[in-house]
Structure formats: C-alpha cells, structure tokens
Symmetry: C2
Subunit: 177 residues, 2 copies
Amino acid sequence: MAETHGLVIVNTGNGKGKTTAALGMGFRAWGQGLRVLVIQFIKGNWKYGELKAAEKLAPDFVIRQMGEGFVKHVKSDGTADHQGAAAEALQMARDEITSGKWDMIILDEINYAVKFGLVTVGECLELISLKPAGMHLVMTGRDAREEVIDRADLVTEMREIKHPYKQGIKAQKGVEF
Amino acid sequence: MAETHGLVIVNTGNGKGKTTAALGMGFRAWGQGLRVLVIQFIKGNWKYGELKAAEKLAPDFVIRQMGEGFVKHVKSDGTADHQGAAAEALQMARDEITSGKWDMIILDEINYAVKFGLVTVGECLELISLKPAGMHLVMTGRDAREEVIDRADLVTEMREIKHPYKQGIKAQKGVEF
C-alpha cells in the first residue's frame, strides 16, 4: 500500500454543511501542503465568500465554477443549458483527475447533478476509477446514489434538524452564501 | 430587526464534518469580510492543517487552541487537567463573545465538553445569551444537548454512514488531521 491512500469521500443528505464541510476539508488539506481543486457542478457564477477566500490560497487552492454562470451554456430560447454546463464540468473533472496536478479534487454537487439527470451514475463511477491512488476525491450533494456510496471510503449524511428559513429568518451573508 | 441577524448554529451527530463544516463556514464568512474566531474546547496543540491555513487569513481568522495542549493545565500527578483547560476556554469564550471584535465565533467541540462534564449546559446557554445580535455563534460536537438545540437557529446532524477506519485504512494527512 502506498504511503498516502487517497480516499473517496461522499457528503450527502438533506442538511447544510455538505459543501461547507468539503471546503473545510480543502482548507485543512491545503494547510498540510496538498493541492486542492474544487469543481462546481451546479452553482452559478455567484460571488461566494469562498471564492474570495480561495484567492488568498491560490495557486494551490482553486475553485472552478461551472453551471449556468457560463455564457456559452445558454440555449437558443435564452434559458440556462444545465446539460451543457454539466458535460463541460464532467470533462474538466476527467482532465483534472488525470492531470497529476492535484492531491484533492472536490466535485461539488455532483450527486445533485446525477439526481437531475445531468450526469449519469456511470460517469460518476468512471471518475472514481480514474482517480490516482494517492488522490482524495470528494463528492458532495444530496441523494448520493448507492453505487457511489458503495465505492466510497468515507460517507457522511448531513441531516437537517432545524433550519432558520423555516423560522422566517433570511439567508445571512457570510453564512449561507 | 437588524440588517444582520446573527445565527446560533449547531453541528452535531456521530459523523465526520462537524468541525470541518464549521471551518468551511468560517472560511466562507472570512471571504465575505467577517472576522472569525475559533476556540477549541477539546483538541490539543496539534499541527492541524487548519492552523497553517488560518495563518494565511490572519488577523481576521484566528484559531485559539485550548485543552490539553497548554502546559499549565497539567495536574500534580502529571495527567492533563481537562477541567482547567475547559474553564479557561469558557472564560475566553465569554470575553471574546462580548469583545465586539468578532462577527463569527466557532466554539469547537463545546458540545463534547458538555457531554464530558467539563462545561455545563447552563454555561453553554449563558454564552448564547451573551451573543451580540449581529454575531454568528457556531457550536460543534456530538450529542448536543436538547436545551442548546432549542436555542439554535440552524442545527445539522452529521451521521456516519461509512468510515475508512472500520475498513482498515489509516488516518490520512490533510483529511483527518
């Protein structure tokens, strides 16, 4: 067995903290000298706090935003081309996983992309099989498929116990976005 | 209601990701210009990846390590004085919460400290009551008490679905520590 056994990690469930825990893991890994890439499969080109923070940790902590934020992924009727954006994210994931440039890759919301038919479960399993032995691969998003969980080393379900939106409190800058 | 409604956030459960999600939240909040303090209630003075990463974000992202890492918290028989360390962490929490210096304070493993009788649930509730309206207070650790959950706005349970230790894989640098 190699010195570093790269883990396949899945954060799933209906609660908060799936992406946030992955970011925290990336932050910690970066502190240990690992090179960390985040590829977003769903979220658009918003000004997340994490983007600003990631800039400070560049070039060894990089967040690549995919999804509807990309201008070219707009259909002729003007709506967002989620399918095209997901396909591009998927190809980027393949390329980066096999590039040798990263010690940890976080595929953010890929489970959600599978749920919505933008990525197939077979494509997810292909990404896992492409993973070099020493690389950590983190997959987030609710409703992770059983086939993916079967291949993972560490799986955590984030369960919502209580949520402020349901109590009439608005999303808070720095916490929710 | 003020522009910013500071949330009381609890990450609990038996799974991974409670502290990690809190760190990710701190990372994101910092990116939004918030000043973030982490106070550890249990862990010792280890060289966590997050400490190295936090240094990059100083002075507005600070991790204060408490617990057995402090030399003065050793009992006469040479064992760690967990009680003394927790009392010091608690007093630091009181002082920092009321200092006006922070927009988010993460009380890491405080629920665990309560579980082990190092901090009382009444002291936890006191910290919540001291919180300025605009400050976010994050409390992590398994077995959060019902009284604390009642006072929280956002509560997430991290449930372990699968863990690599149980499959004979050692803790991995950058992921587990």
